[in-house]
């Protein structure tokens, strides 16, 4: 009998995951000992994230590195995404500190859940194996189910988590089925193998495979909240605690996109002719429905939810472009999106006060001249989301359009452009409320430092990526 092959374990490439997991455990442990004051946990988790971010470069220069016989990869995409995840989780945690104090969320698991979720995201972003992807997705989702419902006393929060959970599980079913069919038809769960088999023509497309592809689209589509699988997003965004909403809007979405990109652009590019149309339709629908839904909203969180749906539409274009430019633009877009979203939610949190979160747009009226700096930042973020130069959002859009035009998706780009024109309407609506309406009540805003700090980071990031995007583009592209 041949010797049992020792599984080749490459810990360095797993470094961020391991580090983060360790720190997460630590948080859980320490939580038992610290009393009501959770600042220690915050500190630990931040350090953990920092460590993870650093350890992401453990592989040094010789990327890409495939390990666990091709199930796990460390490459430009994964490293950059790891950075984004760590950043977003860190920002989310910072946002939560004061918010949790105010809203009375005193459970220590909160932070560990965010960290676990981050672990899941890293796995998701750097796995090239259907099984790993599945596991990653599930880690992420389960943490999010809990996080969404973390305010146990609040019925909205419960409802959000319930909806999210049910639909999530439902979507997981589809995703799984899709993976199964893909596996069955190609005979492998490793994206690379699948790719080369399709490439070399060993296996040829058949209905089952296509069906699998569609099911995958549904699965991922749900995770990134693209039409028509977006229905959960507004409700969940509204119900979940604001920092969690921000977190959901950036990190997990980015992770899902990473997997999305990997599976479709690296795994089954051969099937592009069949999934391009599908994805294009999904993208166009997302843009339209997202914008149309947002126009009528009066609750800022719902508004942002719909706008994020429309942004998913834009980002899908990058996936459809499926070239290196596409992946780079995906990275850039997610990063700038992270800055904007956290900035905005920071301001949203600042505007809220105990017992009343002031989430209606009316609450913003007159802000412009009461708190000019705050309103100015909000304006900045809104215009950036709308894609107005010289802000991050514009450069990101420019990037994506570039990628798409390179592949000749002129019509997609034109539709996207028209949509961003529509989107201006509701982004401007926020500005209208802030500057051009009389205040309904006067503001009792306590400018809490940490949240302000997050907002500042958001502003800096938005401006930096807008005015001097050079370095980041360089990182994303090469």
């Amino acid at each position: 009998m041949e010797p049992i092959p020792a599984p080749l374990v490459d810990l360095t490439s797993l470094a961020p995951v391991l580090v983060l997991s360790v720190f997460t455990m630590m948080v859980l442990l320490v939580d038992l000992f610290v009393g009501r004051n959770k600042s220690v946990l915050v500190f630990i988790s931040l350090t953990g994230l920092l460590m993870a971010a650093i350890s992401a470069f453990a592989k040094g220069a010789e990327i890409p590195v495939y390990s666990f016989n091709g199930a796990y990869v460390v490459d430009r995409l994964s490293i950059f995404f790891t950075m984004i995840f760590c950043l977003s989780s860190a920002l989310a945690i910072l946002l939560s500190v004061e918010y949790n104090k105010r809203e009375g969320i005193r459970v220590g698991e909160y932070y560990s859940l965010i960290l676990f979720c981050t672990v899941g995201m890293i796995v998701l972003a750097s796995s090239t194996d259907l099984i790993m992807i599945f596991i990653g997705i599930e880690i992420v989702s389960i943490c999010l189910y809990v996080l969404a419902g973390i305010r146990r006393g609040d019925l909205r929060s419960n409802e959000a988590s319930l909806k999210y959970f049910l639909l999530g599980a439902f979507a997981t079913g589809f995703l799984l089925y899709g993976m199964t069919l893909l596996y069955g038809t190609t005979g492998s769960v490793k994206l690379l193998t699948i790719a080369e088999r399709l490439n070399s023509g060993e296996v040829f497309t058949n209905p089952l495979m296509l069906m699998g592809v569609v099911l995958l689209v549904i699965g991922f589509g749900f995770k990134v909240a693209s039409v028509p699988f977006h229905m959960w997003a507004p409700d969940v965004y509204q119900g979940a605690p604001t920092p969690v909403t921000a977190f959901m809007a950036v990190g997990p979405k980015a992770a899902a996109f990473a997997a999305f990109f990997r599976v479709f652009a690296e795994g089954i590019p051969e099937l592009a002719p069949s999934w391009e149309t599908t994805l294009s339709i999904v993208a166009v629908l997302s843009m339209f429905i997202g914008n149309l839904g947002a126009i009528m909203q009066t609750n800022i969180k719902r508004l942002l939810a719909f706008s994020s749906v429309s942004h998913v539409g834009y980002i899908l274009i990058a996936v459809i472009a499926k070239n290196t430019l596409g992946s780079a633009s995906l990275l850039f877009y997610m990063l700038s999106y992270a800055f904007m979203i956290f900035g905005i939610f920071g301001i949203v949190i600042l505007l809220g006060r105990e017992g009343n979160e002031n989430l209606e747009l009316e609450n913003y009226s007159g802000l412009g001249f009461k708190h000019p700096m705050l309103a100015f930042c909000m304006t900045l973020f809104m215009l950036s989301l709308g894609g107005l130069p010289p802000l991050a959002g514009f450069v990101a859009k420019f990037y994506i359009f570039q990628a798409a035009l390179k592949e000749g998706f002129l019509w997609l780009v034109i539709i996207a452009v028209l949509n961003s024109a529509i989107s201006f309407y509701y982004y401007l609506k926020v500005i209208v409320f802030m500057y051009m309406k009389e205040p309904i009540g006067e503001f009792k805003i306590s400018l809490t430092p940490i949240t302000l700090f997050v907002v500042a980071i958001g502003v800096l990031g938005t401006l930096e990526l807008g005015i001097f995007p050079g370095p980041v583009i360089f990182l994303a592209q090469y």
Partner: protein, 530 residues
């Protein structure tokens, strides 16, 4: 570098103003005015230093901005942009002085004004598509804020309409820009969004040119605004505060025509040639239509707004005459319109400050009560009508004589605009200034104060100066126009074998007229000879 400094000076000023406490309105106003005036004076230096004999870019400055994409920060002035640049600084100063009475949120008003000025200046100096687009979109925001916050009753509607209408157009232009950017890479292997580089090295087939032309055309035509895309203008003008209207009419509209001169003609000469009949039709329709509609307006500002539609039609006509007279006429008309219409808006604003209404029927017999105002208003009105000896005439004359050599029909229709101009302007003047004083509220209007005189005097001086001795203005852009004309003719001449629809159209237009009158005349001439 100095150019950059002058361009960004207002923005810096705005940033500094942000730190002045809100209560100190007087200080803020003075500071803002100081900055604007300083900027204007500094911009005059460019006129001083400008080499009138070269069509090349001057005061050029270039630093890499986004190497990864081959995007540079590249600025410069040439004959086409120089005057517009100075006009912008000038009008900024004027409009800040004009809005001295703004009570609400003065600080933020001034900040937006200064920011706006930088945005506009940037548009005129940008020599890189990316940069151009950045400034082009950037200046929307302050304008939007100015209209939306300090505007009239329907300001929200007007502001949002202004913003989105313009955005739609420019976003399609963005697509065009990216397309050309990639195409350039295809052809030359270098990634660059440099306008000059692209103009020299990008070769495109006719139909491609036509598509791109249309993409750009939409953006600029909305800005100009040309006939079917003009409806945002009246709303914006009516709702905007006086200074807003001044800037809007004086500078923002010029960005459109500037865009045509800087991009459409040099980049897509063949398309320009083959599409020129359609553009000209829109232009002449705009001229007549704007004039007719202006005639029946009840609101002074609306009237002036529609008159702008008509005047800008002349400019477009001049641009698409493809010859020296037409182009220089168009450029001069840009400046003239900037001055006359701004002056008109100023004076309307003055009346508005006194009476808080702009409805013509509210007035009448004012020239008895406020004679000085009446004199200035008459001068401005006549210059807007295009009375010879005043600025308006030179521009229109050059435009029309230029167009006449390209196509008779358009020139004739355009010239008829001269008649209508007289109709609506004089009728308005009569109803406002002449006749008995019917409305008792007008009895006790006080005449222009010193500030208002200070505002108007330079305007009037310019009106007559350009009207009687335009050489100092025309000579700045002669060289550039020569170059542009030759460039366009050369590059479209190449294409003439393949197409020539343009010339056919032109010739046809001429032929029709000729035939009309020949068939009429020839045999009658025979009759007479016997």
């Amino acid at each position: 570098m100095f150019l950059t400094f002058v361009t960004f000076l207002p923005l810096i000023g705005a940033a500094l103003l942000a730190f002045v406490p809100d209560e100190k309105t007087e200080t803020i106003k003075q500071a803002a005015l100081g900055i604007a005036v300083a900027d204007f004076l500094l911009s005059l230096v460019f006129y001083q230093e400008f080499d009138m004999h070269s069509h090349k870019m001057q005061f050029e400055f270039m630093v890499p901005w986004i190497e990864a994409w081959g995007i540079n920060y590249h600025v410069g002035l040439d004959g086409i942009s120089l005057l517009l640049y100075i006009l912008t600084t000038f009008l900024t100063a004027v409009s800040i002085l004009a809005s001295w009475e703004v009570k609400k949120h003065t600080k933020y008003y001034m900040i937006s004004m200064l920011a706006l000025s930088t945005g506009m200046l940037g548009v005129f100096i940008a020599l890189d598509f990316f940069m151009f687009y950045v400034f082009w979109e950037f200046q929307l925001v302050p304008m939007y804020i100015i209209i939306g916050v300090w505007g009239g009753p329907r300001r929200l509607y007007a502001a949002v309409k202004f913003f989105i209408y313009t955005a739609v157009g420019s976003l399609l232009m963005l697509v065009g820009i990216i397309w050309m950017y990639l195409e350039l890479h295809q052809q030359t292997g270098t990634y660059s969004t440099d306008i000059l580089f692209m103009t020299d090295n990008l070769k495109m087939a006719l139909e491609v040119q036509i598509w791109l032309f249309l993409a750009f055309f939409l953006a600029f035509a909305i800005k100009v605004p040309m006939f079917p895309f003009h409806t945002w203008l009246p709303d914006a003008h009516v709702e905007a505060p006086t200074a807003g209207s001044i800037i809007l009419a004086g500078v923002l509209l010029k960005m459109g025509t500037y865009g045509f001169l800087r991009f459409n003609l040099p980049l897509f000469p063949a398309a320009s040639y083959s599409l020129f009949p359609y553009v000209c039709w829109l232009a002449v329709i705009g001229i007549v239509y704007g004039a007719l509609v202006a005639m029946v307006q009840e609101d002074l500002k609306k009237l002036v707004a529609y008159s702008s539609v008509s005047h800008l039609g002349f400019v477009m006509l001049g641009i698409f005459a493809f010859n020296h007279q037409g182009l220089s006429g168009a450029l001069l008309q840009n400046i003239n319109h900037g001055i006359s219409t701004s002056a008109l808006f100023l004076m309307v604003g003055m009346i508005y400050d006194r009476r808080h209404t702009r409805l013509i029927k509210e007035f009448g017999g004012l020239s008895k009560i406020i004679p000085v105002f009446a004199i200035y208003f008459m001068i401005v009105t006549l210059s807007s009508i295009g009375l010879p000896g005043m600025n308006g005439f030179i521009g229109e004359f050059l435009v029309l004589i230029g167009m006449f050599q390209t196509d008779v029909v358009f020139a004739m229709i355009g010239t008829s605009g001269v008649i209508f101009a007289a109709c609506y302007m004089l009728w308005m003047f009569q109803r406002v200034m002449f006749l008995e004083v019917t409305n008792p509220e007008n009895e006790k209007l006080e005449d222009m104060n010193l500030r208002e005189k200070i505002l108007m005097v330079p305007m009037v001086i310019l009106i007559f100066w350009i009207g009687l001795y335009p050489a100092p203005f025309t000579k700045t852009f002669d060289a550039s126009i020569e170059h542009l004309v030759s460039h366009v003719n050369k590059h479209s001449g190449i294409k003439h074998e393949e197409e020539g629809g343009a010339h056919h159209a032109a010739v046809k237009g001429k032929a029709t007229v000729a035939q009309l009158l020949t068939t009429g005349t020839s045999e009658t001439t025979v009759l007479v000879k016997e």
